[in-house]
């Protein structure tokens, strides 16, 4: 039995309370210096599934590093201490938490989910040179020099999923897009999917960008299915479970593609494994054997997955591995810089024109779309659900697609009124 977003919020309430107190890893060697890593994330509320699981993942990696004696930076040995703050996706709290971490807890860097909360902290962060990370590449602006999207470049990577779908299911020629109409997740993803579909020669025959007040998805799904699409695209939806349920009940037989399908076990429980099998998305389970391929820059992904599921059996989400990957990326930068100063770490990371990227093939990108090359794009997995499990089918190159087709993406972003610098 899986777990829904609501169940997640309920069952992890205690975890959030404990985590919000900022309890550190407690396996430091006596007298060992520590580096404090900040996580200013939503641990409660609707966005919690994209916050708290990341803290759990970071704690596992930090414990691992500390158990191995710490990390050597500039000839000094440091333990890793996680400091967290739950802002509940409220921008006032996000700013308070950010300042608390930097000024009182003295963290060396701050990881955030992204969106409006990042917009609120960056003016101050820029004036104080705070090394900050986001999961949303669209947060980068020409002014945010200290903001990096080093792991997830939402939603650029979805182009690889569409490309794979078009090559492997050439008979699928029409698509509909249904997603929420928020700018940070829904519209950005919708524009990117539209661009990817156009490049792949797939016609978008209908699109429904709905508000967050929708509770009954039956009429909405009926309306788009009336166009007889071959593909149902959920983009980056907060309502994947509800949409999948409706698709199942209304007898949809085509392909389903989505940015992610968190808690897909719950979808299977509400529909059927046969129905969910074949769904395409982009967030792998870390027990996938393909993650042992050469070029994957995440240490022991399968062991990480096993430990995670042992400690938090029902809490795996898309971000479980992303924040740890960002933290590891920052440690790499600090090692190269020989210290933890944010400007030095930033310079050390940016000096590498082929930055380490979790799925390989990384390159700094972003200037032509958002004004700064502060986003790392590279290879990204295309995941298909098979036998009830997520399995990587291929690693697609986001970079290659952007080199050839970024003008198409800009066209659709402008169509939706989204910010670009071009």
């Amino acid at each position: 039995m899986g777990i829904s977003r609501r169940d997640f919020v309920r069952t992890t309430a205690a975890g959030a309370v404990i985590a919000s107190t900022g309890l550190p890893s407690r396996v430091f060697a006596a007298g060992q210096k520590t580096i404090k890593v900040g996580m200013n994330i939503p641990m409660t509320g609707d966005y919690a599934p994209w916050g708290l699981p990341g803290l759990y993942g970071c704690q596992i990696v930090a414990d691992d590093i500390n158990a191995a004696g710490g990390v050597d930076i500039g000839g000094e040995n440091y333990g890793i201490e996680m400091v967290s703050y739950d802002h509940g996706y409220d921008i006032e709290k996000a700013l308070q938490g950010y300042k608390k971490m930097v000024s009182e807890d003295e963290v060396s860097m701050v990881m955030m989910l992204g969106g409006a909360t990042v917009g609120a902290v960056m003016p101050w962060g820029e004036r104080k040179d705070v090394f900050t990370t986001t999961l949303l590449s669209s947060d980068v602006t020409p002014e945010t020099e200290h903001l990096l999207a080093p792991v997830e470049s939402h939603p650029l990577y979805v182009v690889t999923g569409v490309d794979w779908l078009a090559r492997n299911h050439p008979d699928a020629k029409t698509a509909v897009i249904v997603t929420n109409n928020d700018v940070e997740y829904g519209l950005q993803a919708a524009a990117t999917f539209q661009a990817a579909f156009e490049v792949a020669g797939i016609e978008v025959v209908d699109m429904n960008l709905h508000g967050f007040d929708v509770t009954d998805f039956a009429p909405l799904v009926s309306s788009v299915l009336a166009k007889n699409p071959d593909i149902f695209c959920m983009a980056t939806s907060f309502y994947t479970t509800a949409l999948m349920e409706q698709l199942y009940h209304q007898g949809f037989k085509g392909k389903v593609i989505s940015t992610t399908l968190d808690y897909h076990e719950e979808v299977i429980a509400k529909t059927s494994q046969e129905f969910v099998d074949g769904t395409i998305h982009q967030f792998p389970s870390f027990d996938d054997p393909r993650l042992n391929d050469a070029g994957i820059a995440f240490p022991n992904p399968n062991a990480f997955d096993a430990e995670y599921r042992k400690r938090h059996p029902n809490d795996w989400s898309a971000v479980s591995w992303e924040y740890p990957a960002i933290m590891l990326n920052w440690i790499e930068g600090a090692k190269a810089a020989g210290n933890t100063n944010s400007n030095d770490v930033l310079a050390a990371l940016k000096a590498n024109s082929n930055p380490s990227f979790v799925f390989g093939g990384g390159r700094w990108w972003g200037k032509e779309l958002w004004g700064l090359d502060n986003i790392v794009v590279g290879n990204w997995p295309i995941v298909v659900i098979e036998g009830g499990k997520t399995r990587i089918k291929e690693f697609g190159s986001v970079t290659d697609w952007l080199d050839k087709h970024s003008a198409v993406l800009v066209k659709y972003m402008k169509e939706h009124g989204l910010r670009t610098v071009t």
Partner: protein, 328 residues
Amino acid sequence: MSDQGRFNLRHAALGAALLVIVVSVPHFLKFHHQDLLIFLTINVLVVCSYRLVTLTGEWSLIHAVMLGVGAYAATLSHNHLGLEIWFTLPLAGLTGALVAALLCFPLLRMTQFYFLIGSFAAGEAIRLIWVEWVSVFGGTSGLRGVEAPVVWGIDFLDPIPYYYFCLAVVTLCLLILYRIENSRIGLTLHAIHWKAALAESVGVDAWKYRALAFIIGSFFAAIAGGLKIHYLGSVTPNQFTIGFMVFILIWVIVGGYNKFYGPIIGVVVLTIFDESIREFEIVRPAIYGGMLILSILFLPLGLESIPSKFRSWFGAGSTPSEPPLTDR
């Protein structure tokens, strides 16, 4: 010394003590609590401006959105016209007043419960414009780029300088609000609240005064929105939802609204309380709900009535017994 003299001396001493506290308090706080102090100072203006609207007996659910109107006006004028905070704040206030003036025509045709629901609907309509008109208002992610300035080397994005700036602006606004309430206009607003029909029978244009209260309240709410957004650096529609409006109502009701300082007590006490229960975020709505119910049951006149209750228990005065907002 005469009673009047003692009274004046006591008030002067209280005022001086209050001044010392508000001026010195940020220096005793942690960095992130200084931020909280700024938002608290701004929220004092929010509740006092809301109280002015309620003086006529009408409770609206659009006040939070009026903050947003000011916030968006300040952001747009900063981003597109290059105006600094000294100019964006008055402009924010005027925009709030203008929007309120336009809304008077449909909204003030209603009273009591209908006005309450109508104001909620109007507020949601404005919020939807911010959400749907992405190219102008940035949709759900809102607008960024509005910042507090650096003047003569003083970075107003640092909490202490910005707190003093807020304190000055809010104090000025409160003085104006206080003067309005204690002027002939204020007395007329009270009269409309308690005996609207009688006031109209002697020539008072109740519609005009209700509109005036709504416009002035919205003017100051919009200034509060501008103040907040220059510190936060970004504005989103989600900051001005019915959820925030409920907080405004709770601050005012728990503090009490019969006296000018009642809502101020409410917002100060509940903000401190709120920070103390930060680690119990999930149960926070339940705690607030419980407090509101207890307050209505046992302190219907709010926290402001506690001193007079004490005095009555010790035989030094009468129990405050006037039910609030009841036509007499």
